[in-house]
């Protein structure tokens, strides 16, 4: 085989010129700048809405107040104050709930995808449970598990469980026919096929589920704290709301969003390490 060194670069250059003509203006501005600009616009409109009395300050605190409250809360968080105490409770509930959901979601995903019992008997129950409004269970969980961390961990796990379960089952079913043929021609047992082929093959799906579960486990913990009281940022959120300290409400929401985002990014980084053969998407797989 001979390669003509002049040809490929030439074609490449033509291609990129062609492409640049079609690039949108938003592709050419660095996204750091455009995102900051949009954020500034939103804050500007927000400030205007408060200054011009379109909405009352009791309903929407001015951006300056929110910034100050967020600053105070962050300082408190980093110096080990009250916010830190509550944050660490919420973080612990989230993490434990997530781990519980991860184990249960993957195990049930495997059972449903791999066994007739799972598909025919277990699946209807899981779907019914999926459809149930799980938030309504929060007070019940308190009655069952007390006022400590347990009801919140359970709620975080219950809410984070489903996307992971669905993604795991979908990933196991999403098997290339040829790979299945290969393993059958190697006379591989069911367990060997599961562990050496199906599970690694499903990892991109499982990680999509894990990323969704990471965010949902934060929401689950907050909802449980909000409804069940006790310690944690969710409980503090409710206290602040009842005191109409809206700047603090916003501050906690911002801290929680950052926490959930960080958790998501952490799982995403883990995915890039483990599922190195695939370029992960920015958002989880759409369902």
């Amino acid at each position: 085989m001979t390669t003509r060194p002049d040809e490929p670069p030439d074609r490449g250059r033509q291609g990129s010129e062609h492409w640049s003509e079609r690039r949108s203006i938003w592709d050419r501005i660095p996204s750091g700048i455009s995102v900051t600009l949009l954020a500034a616009c939103i804050v500007g409109i927000w400030q205007l809405a408060v200054s011009l009395d379109w909405v009352s300050e009791f309903v929407l605190p001015p951006p300056g107040d929110v910034a100050r409250a967020t600053w105070d809360a962050t300082k408190d968080l980093l110096t080990g104050g009250v916010v830190w105490e509550n944050f660490s409770v919420t973080a612990r509930e989230t993490l434990l709930g997530f781990l519980l959901a991860a184990v249960a979601g993957i195990v049930f995903g495997v059972i449903v995808a791999e066994t007739a019992f799972g598909r025919r008997v277990l699946l209807p129950f899981l779907v019914a449970f999926y459809a149930a409004p799980k938030v309504a269970f929060a007070p019940l969980f308190v009655a069952w598990f007390g006022f400590g961390l347990t009801p919140k961990i359970v709620m975080a796990a219950v809410i984070a469980f489903f996307p992971l379960f669905v993604d795991t089952a979908a990933g196991l079913s999403n098997l290339d026919e040829n790979k299945d043929k290969l393993f059958r021609s190697l006379r591989a047992s069911r367990m060997t096929t599961l562990f050496k082929l199906k599970l690694p093959n499903a990892l991109p799906f499982i990680f999509a589920g894990l990323k969704t579960a990471a965010v949902l486990s934060v929401i689950g913990a907050i909802v449980a704290e909000f409804m069940g009281g006790g310690q944690g940022l969710g409980a503090q959120l409710r206290v602040a709301t009842s005191q109409l300290a809206l700047d603090r409400v916003f501050a906690y929401v911002i801290i929680l969003s950052v926490m959930a985002t960080a958790f998501y990014v952490l799982v995403d980084l883990l995915e890039r390490r483990i599922v190195f053969w695939r370029k992960p998407g920015f958002l989880p797989v759409e369902r």
Binding site: M1, D176, N178, K179, K181, L182, F183, R184, S185, L186, R187, A188, T192, K196, L197, P200, N201, L203, V275, F276, W277, R278
Partner: protein, 255 residues
């Protein structure tokens, strides 16, 4: 040793009745138009599909599931993306005998990779290899457990003409050295004649035997023979049989 096989699929007759025997150490091609059931036949022999009637006989015994002594190759390389080339080659050993056995066969895997011209590529992942290189890894994977019988389902069909010719030469060289029995499915006449000791030409669906071309080109073969009058005569003979079997002329266009 003979392999004998009769099948009739219903309600759509995909194949046969057909009866093919392959002798030990023989390279036999199944040549036919698309959809004639040649891949189906191969999958039945490999135990991946059941046959409606008839049986597969291997070395005197009837086989139903995939026999231990076969190695298969498919139209695509079918490598596992999360394994290195070496680890992909070792997969059959790992599946049958476990991880420790695979580790002790590493040296053999590297030998095979060197045999197909991939020395130094053992630690690469499939995404870092070209299509031809991936298919060569698949050849090594087929050979690692030293199977007696090879079943090849259009293994080079997805490759470009230049790479395909190259792979055919290599496959022929490797198999001549190893004295394997092989059943090779293709719709490429030249490829069939070049590789085979015998070419079984099949008719359109339901596939039957249109005729058999004995290829007496001797061993070893090299690519120069492709232009020889003897080779061309065999290709012409195979093409005539294809036309006989397919009145519409599908798959029998002059090359």
């Amino acid at each position: 040793m003979t392999k004998r096989f009769v099948a009739k699929d219903e309600p759509v007759d995909a194949l046969g009745p057909i009866d093919v025997s392959v002798h030990r150490g023989e390279f036999v091609s199944l040549l036919g138009p698309s959809g004639c059931g040649k891949s189906t036949l191969l999958n039945i022999v490999g135990g991946l599909l059941p046959c409606t009637t008839g049986e597969v006989v291997l070395g005197g015994r009837i086989v139903r599931d995939t026999p231990a002594e076969i190695g298969m190759m498919f139209q695509a390389p079918v490598l596992l993306e999360w394994r290195t080339a070496r680890s992909n080659v070792l997969l059959p050993i790992e599946v049958v005998a476990g991880r420790r056995a695979a580790r002790s066969a590493q040296h053999r895997a590297d030998e095979l990779l060197a045999l197909v011209g991939l020395q130094g590529f053992g630690s690469r992942y499939p995404s870092e290899l070209s299509g031809g290189m991936q298919q060569r890894v698949a050849i090594c994977r087929m050979l690692i457990a030293d199977p007696d019988v090879l079943l090849l389902d259009e293994p080079f069909g997805a490759l470009d003409e230049i790479t395909r010719e190259h792979m055919n030469v290599e496959l022929r060289r490797i198999l001549e050295a190893a004295a394997k029995t092989a059943l090779f499915v293709t719709h490429n006449i030249q490829e069939a004649v070049f590789l085979s000791d015998r070419v079984v030409v099949m008719t359109e669906r339901p596939g039957r035997i249109a005729g058999i071309v004995e290829v007496d080109l001797g061993k070893p073969r090299d690519i120069e023979q492709v232009t020889s009058p003897e080779f061309q005569a065999l290709v012409r003979r195979a093409r005539e049989l294809l036309h006989l079997g397919s009145p519409g002329g599908i798959g029998a266009r002059p090359a």
